[in-house]
């Protein structure tokens, strides 16, 4: 009798422990994958651990990573934003027009950055309003605006590259702080802010609630439409930040090439990071790790001389693998 009383809690503890493991694995799996990938990469190529290479990889990752952070909010709330790539091009064009329109170089840069953030947010607002007020599916709205934004960028510039001679502009995206590229600071800084917003504020809780079951959210007094709208604005704002980093690094923007396929990289990073495409749950850290995984894979393929035409194949395979593993965990 005594024995059975003693073993029962022990058995219960084991079961409880077993239950906890897959949950933690769900969070840890992308991180483990990243560490493994990092280890393999450093063995596969002697250049990989080179400071300049790492710094370059991080910089490359930042442009899409910043966008992926915004995308995380949209996807958790149950939406999707396909327009972010085209939006980068359009915002980029606006940024350079503002830089070139103002003669004082410092003023020009500051106003251009403001313009990027305002323009990005407004484009996001447009997407969000079409989804919430127009009641059109996010996929359709942003598919349309993807086409619209790219078309506007091409029309304003006549499809020609826009560049600037502003002497300090390139310091923004091309500069370093404590020998780390500025876009990387922006990326990680944004990640921290976004994590706090998502996990530690009522707003973040509401975003998850809306994505998990909008009906329950409505009955709980959450303003569902307002939350959905806000996630698109966040995505647009992140695109604005990314566009500043990208255009200032190159001192120019190509309306046809800028942001090309960024929407896919951003969505891929979110998915690899373990955020459910059906909405309701996800993490910013997962997205950051997802973006890093994609960046390192690209870099490795370049360093080991794999045909650039095969890079898409590898990226696709990684996405499938990540999602397959998630389903396994869910089952």
């Amino acid at each position: 009798m005594n024995q059975s009383q003693n073993t029962k809690p022990a058995a219960a503890l084991v079961i409880q422990g077993l239950r906890k493991i897959p949950l933690n694995a769900a969070i840890l799996a992308p991180l483990v994958a990243l560490i493994l990938l990092f280890a393999v990469s450093s063995l596969a190529s002697e250049y990989f651990l080179n400071t300049r290479n790492i710094s370059n990889v991080l910089r490359q990752v930042s442009y899409t990573g910043i966008i992926a952070i915004g995308m995380t909010f949209v996807i958790i709330a149950g939406g999707i934003d396909l327009s972010v790539g085209s939006m980068v091009a359009l915002v980029g064009v606006i940024v350079l027009y503002v830089v070139n329109a103002i003669s004082d170089p410092v003023q020009a840069v500051i106003l251009a950055m403001l313009a990027a953030i305002v323009a990005g947010s407004l484009f996001g607002l447009f997407n969000g309003l079409m989804v919430t007020r127009g009641r059109i599916a996010a996929f359709v709205v942003t598919l349309a605006s993807m086409s619209i934004f790219r078309s506007l960028a091409l029309y304003f510039t006549d499809a020609a590259e826009v560049s600037t001679r502003n002497p300090i502009f390139s310091n923004v995206g091309g500069g370093f702080f404590l020998s780390i590229p500025i876009p990387v600071w922006v990326f990680f800084g944004l990640a921290i802010v976004a994590h706090v917003l998502l996990f530690h504020t009522a707003y973040g809780r509401h975003v998850c609630a809306v994505g998990a079951n909008p009906q329950v959210a409505r009955y709980s007094g959450i303003r569902v439409k307002r939350i959905v709208l806000s996630t698109f604005v966040i995505a647009g704002l992140c695109v604005g930040l990314s566009a500043i980093m990208l255009t200032s690094r190159l001192n120019s923007v190509s309306p046809s090439d800028a942001g090309y396929f960024y929407e896919l990289d951003a969505i891929a990073a979110v998915v690899i990071g373990g955020t459910a495409l059906s909405g309701g749950r996800g993490t910013v850290w997962g997205t950051v790790i997802g973006a890093l995984i994609l960046g390192i894979i690209n870099n490795m393929l370049n360093l080991t001389g794999v045909s650039p035409y095969l890079q898409g194949l590898v990226k696709g395979a990684v996405i499938l693998l990540a999602v397959l593993l998630q389903y396994k965990r869910a089952a």
Binding site: A12, C208, A209, Q215, V216, R218
Partner: protein, 507 residues
């Protein structure tokens, strides 16, 4: 005595170290209804899944048509004529009735679908069940009861000989239950054996020939239904004396004289007409009526979930204008939806996140204080005895009764003065029900005003100090004292009796 069609011998099932079913032996003969009773978690669903071939038993043998099988798979079970009508229907909502009836076994002619024959056959089947239903209607336009009939028709197409009904009456009104029972009797007359799972003792008593009672995976009783009274059944199910399911009502007029909530002339286009009601602190007001009478709509309109077209609300004598659930919450109102999983709880959220989802503001000091959330969840876990191994696990893993307790905690956490409870005990077992009834009484004793909406007459009668019967969007009558009985409520709910100006009846 006819040959049994199904015989179970010493069936047991364990998941890892957990024994969920032990040594079940029974036989089922054609043309009988076997009731299966048990609390949530007693092993009813496991037993059903073994009979329908979804689970493999870890001990014992199954004899189907005197063929001994140590294991059964869904296809073999189906070949032997085992069919299950699940709680959540497996119907394709965009397809028509006849398409669903023949789903997976479509009639063909020359390689193409024979729509005419399927339509005709469906019409015949439905007619034989005495159900007036157009075979061409899409499923999404049917009521819950009609969908259930489509499932029954599907079972007939399969020429099933053992039909398992898993809590089929939970979602039905009393009138629809009567239709279902008639259909079950038709099946039985044709020699079909029926396994009927239910929480409701009265229904089992009414419909079943024999009765199996399960408790903690053990077979507690297998006997003729006539041998047990309802009290006996409840006692055997729970394993202890149920002194009384419903707590004592306070003496009449124990509540305060002025109403906590007063509704005047509430109307909602084509749904509600000129609804007057009031509820006092310390009182339980029952809203009875058929499903679709407008009871849920009354609650949702009061809560600002629907835009009212007319009428005024007064809370503690002050006129208030409520346009959203937020404003309702701010005025001390809280609403428990009848649709726990669709409108009440975020199933993927954990216990803590669900409990604080209305009251989240209180836990925010710049950032959410997760530790405070956990403390509050632990408080409710104790107070309402919520059985959850891990407060961090999604609530979808909890049983129905425990989910309902989490839902109650969510409402209680905004400390409401007036609670609108829509089907507060739907789909939960009897001991959880009893705890919830107890809780409702505690709340009124603390001076809260409670409105209970329920399709279970017993619940309305057992809990309400006063009853309003709703019919077709209007208040049909107010019942008091001894007039709160089944007969009176049904008379008004079904419209057999009209009451001029809705006067008070009784004391």
């Amino acid at each position: 005595m006819r040959e049994p069609i199904l015989r179970l011998e010493g069936i047991g099932k364990a998941f890892g170290p957990v024994q969920v079913l032990e040594d079940i032996s029974l036989s089922l003969v054609p043309g009988e209804v076997l009731g299966i009773l048990g609390e949530n978690g007693a092993g009813k669903s496991t037993l059903l899944k073994i009979v329908s071939g979804i689970y493999t038993p870890s001990a014992g043998t199954i004899h189907l048509d005197s063929e001994a099988l140590s294991a059964l798979d869904p296809i073999t079970a189906r070949r032997h004529g085992v069919a299950m009508i699940p709680q959540e229907f497996n119907l394709v909502s965009t397809l028509r009735v006849y398409e669903n009836v023949f789903l997976g076994q479509e009639l063909r002619r020359g390689g193409l679908l024979d729509h005419g024959a399927m339509r005709q056959r469906t019409r015949e089947l439905l007619a034989s069940l005495e159900v007036a239903l157009d075979p061409d209607l899409p499923i999404e336009r049917l009521s819950v009861a009609e969908k259930q009939m489509v499932e029954v028709a599907r079972v007939l197409v399969n020429e099933a000989r053992i039909v398992i009904l898993d809590e089929p009456t939970t979602v039905l009104t009393d009138r629809e239950v009567a239709v279902l029972f008639k259909v079950v009797r038709t099946l039985v007359a044709r020699g079909v054996a029926v396994m009927f799972i239910s929480h409701k003792l009265k229904e089992v008593k009414e419909l079943c020939d024999r009765l199996l009672i399960l408790r903690d995976g053990q077979q507690v009783e297998l006997c003729e239904v006539g041998e047990l009274s309802e009290e006996d059944m409840a006692r055997k199910m729970v394993g202890r004396e149920l002194s009384q399911v419903y707590p004592d009502k306070p003496p009449a007029a124990a509540h305060e004289a002025s109403p906590a909530l007063q509704v005047r002339g509430l109307s909602l286009k084509d749904v509600l007409y000129d609804i007057d009601l009031e509820v006092h602190r310390g009182e339980v007001l029952g809203l009875a009526g058929l499903v679709g009478a407008g009871r849920t709509e009354i609650a949702e309109t009061i809560m600002g979930l629907r835009r009212r077209d007319g009428g005024a609300l007064h809370i503690d004598g002050k006129a208030v204008d409520i346009r959203s659930p937020n404003e309702a919450h701010a005025h001390g109102l809280a609403y428990l939806s009848e649709d726990r999983q669709g409108k009440g709880l975020q199933l993927s959220f954990n216990v803590m996140q669900n409990i604080t989802s209305l009251s989240l503001k209180r836990y925010v000091r710049g950032l959410i204080r997760h530790a405070a959330e956990r403390r509050q969840a632990e408080h409710y876990q104790q107070r309402l005895s919520i059985k959850a191994a891990n407060l961090g696990a999604p609530v979808s893993k909890l049983s129905g009764g425990n989910q309902q307790k989490v839902y109650f905690s969510k409402l209680l956490d905004i400390e409401p003065d007036i609670l609108l409870l829509d089907e507060p005990t739907r789909g939960i077992d009897i001991s959880a029900k009893q705890q919830i009834y107890q809780l409702i009484r505690e709340l009124t004793e603390q001076g809260k005003a409670v409105i209970v909406i329920s399709s279970e007459l017993e619940e309305i009668i057992g809990m309400s100090d006063r009853v309003l019967v709703v019919r077709e969007g209007r208040i049909a009558v107010e019942l008091n004292g001894d007039d709160i009985n089944e007969e009176q409520i049904m008379l008004y709910a079904a419209g057999a009796r009209q009451h001029a100006n809705c006067e008070r009846v009784g004391t």
